[in-house]
């Protein structure tokens, strides 16, 4: 039973009128993995989650979740999965304890089960002693952890997280990922969507979805190796905007884009460019302070590259 994948999707398609939101996607999520589902807004991430949680009927294709056909029998699956959205779904006018109690009631947990789960969640979210505080008085990071606790109060085998870290500061995001690892170490399969590319590196496996289609799938290392034939130079300069404009039209540069505070320039694998030669060209173009360093492609580089190839 537990050698069947946590999720197995074949030819899954959903159309809203003329618009095909999800277009015949295939993928498997092995049990116990942290699976990252990446893509820009509107690419079909949430639609996929809604089909996998049994709240949206696909137009065609199959979706097995925890060995059950979720399209036909969502009720067999729903008790065994958890879901956490970026909205956190907490009642702000209720206390920490009341929120947990409510979700325990939604999953009709027996009282003794609730008592032990409550204990676990309060410890996990570091909310011991704050049980009677109104949720609206908690800061975003605490609310996020409480939402995770509420979403796992019934000990799901598989947890869907839809953009769980959007709007949360980097420190809290870091702590949140520690909690996710903790869940994963207890055998829970995690299906996480995000548009933070740095978070992709936290996942065991990734799938990129773009315009309803999966355009890359594999471990972060595989994806970098398989989809990045080009080389990347990281460029820092005080005059970012004009430098970007110059790079975009410079001969021998396939692509240029902002990456954090610096610029990334993509060149073909057989490009004659080295750090020194690119720096000389930049200096000649008037960017005397430019520093250039060739870097390994990040997941973000791969993704930008994949998307530009689709266009």
């Amino acid at each position: 039973m537990s050698d069947t994948p946590a999720i197995s999707v074949r030819g899954l398609t959903k159309a809203f009128g003329d618009f095909t939101a999800v277009d015949g996607i295939n993928f498997d999520v092995p049990r116990g993995e942290v699976f990252g589902f990446l893509g820009p807004n509107g690419s079909g991430k949430t639609t996929t989650i809604r089909m996998l949680t049994g709240t949206l009927r696909p137009k065609s294709g199959s979706a097995d979740v925890l060995g059950e056909d979720v399209v036909r029998h969502p009720d067999k699956v729903q008790r065994r999965i958890g879901y956490m959205s970026q909205k956190f779904s907490l009642f702000e006018d209720m206390t920490v304890d009341e929120n947990l109690r409510f979700y325990a009631g939604v999953y009709d947990l027996p009282p003794e089960k609730f008592a032990s789960q409550r204990e676990y969640v309060l410890n996990m979210a570091d909310l011991v002693g704050r049980e009677n505080e109104l949720t609206r008085n908690l800061s975003v990071g605490w609310r996020q952890r409480l939402a995770l606790g509420a979403a796992t109060i019934h000990e799901p085998e598989l947890l869907f997280l839809d953009e769980p870290t959007s709007g949360v500061d980097p420190v809290a995001r870091r702590q949140f990922w520690d909690l996710l690892y903790d869940l994963a170490s207890r055998g829970v399969t995690l299906f996480v969507t995000t548009h933070y590319m740095d978070e992709a590196a936290h996942c065991n496996r990734l799938a990129f979805i773009y315009r309803g289609r999966i355009i890359a799938e594999g471990s972060p290392g595989e994806i970098r190796a398989d989809h990045m034939e080009q080389r990347i130079f990281d460029i820092t300069t005080s005059r970012v905007d004009p430098a970007l404009q110059w790079l975009e039209t410079a001969p021998g540069v396939d692509e240029a884009y902002l990456s954090g505070a610096s610029l990334h320039a993509v060149v073909p694998a057989d490009s004659p460019f080295s750090n020194a030669r690119l720096r000389d060209r930049l200096a000649a173009a008037g960017f005397a302070d430019a520093e250039v360093e060739e870097v390994d492609p990040t997941i973000e580089d791969v993704f930008v590259n994949l998307v530009s190839r689709q266009r």
Partner: protein, 381 residues
Amino acid sequence: MRQALIRVGAIVRKEFRHLGRDPRMLLAVVITPVIQLLLFAYAISFDVDHVPTLVIDFDNSPASERYLQQYEASPFFDVVAHGTSLAEVDTAFDDNTARVAIIVPSGFSRTLASDATAQVSVLVDGSEPNAAKISQAYSVALNQLYGQQLTREWADAQGLDLSSFGLLEPRIRTWYNPERRSSDFLIPGLMVVILAIVTVQQTAVTLVRERDLGTQEQLEVSPMRRIELMVGKLLPWTLIAFLDVALITGLGRTLFDVPLRGDFWALAVGAALFVFASLGMGLLISAIAPSLDTANIMAMLIAFLPSFLLSGFAFALDQIPVFLQWISYAFPARYMVSISRGVFLKGAGFAEVWPELVSLAVYALVMLVISSVMYGRRSSR
């Protein structure tokens, strides 16, 4: 089944928590009805008596004097002035010192003596239509009374004993509400308005809020079925609606002596059906409305206004334009007002109000079916 009950219970408990945490909401559903009741019953009175009256006697005969004494003696009219010219009527109406003017033309007694029909002008200030209509009715009644009195005097003069015929004993009666107290009339209607507001508005708003919070999305992936969520959401409002019925009935009975003459159970069944119809409307609004504000306005438009204006509460239904009368059939409030007044004032029971009960039952059924379908469709997209 036991699990379903636990899930519904979780929703119900949560709804009451929201209510307890939000003083405005509590105010809206419990305190507001009481305030409305007091306001309507004390401050806004449709009672008509002691209408300031101007009398002008151009005849100056014993007969005209006796006729005008009828008005002096009546509790409905207060003769505030005796005028001598028609121009004074305008002045008195403009100053609001009088609302009714009685003008006895010269030749009044002569006409009566010749057995012809005497004419008296009754001018009524129509700027307050309700009072005007009633004053007019009273004046006509007084004239009849006076006519009968004259007949009796004529009979006396002829030596006939009319009391043996028992024909001319004058009686004026207002049925069902003998003292014409407006609180008797208002409170049974007010109950309907309050029920409509509490049920339609609050259900619409709580359901839309759930969607906005994203908690509905969360519940959809849980084992909770949609019907359990609906029952859990609607149950608290049903309870509160009944609390309001009890509150209004209690206050009406104790504070305003509103009679409860009919079958209480007919009223209870009617109220239950009306509440279900209203919950259906609330559900429908929540399925259609894109935002909380829209939901509020829609609830106002299809719950409050029709139950206030098109139910017979504020205006008698046979006195509004015909097309509005037709529209009024499309809202449940008119049936409920009719049941409520029937039971409170006319002593009605199931035998009398069953047509309205059936209308409400059909209405409730149709509403709940349509709204459940719409609600389901909306959330599956």
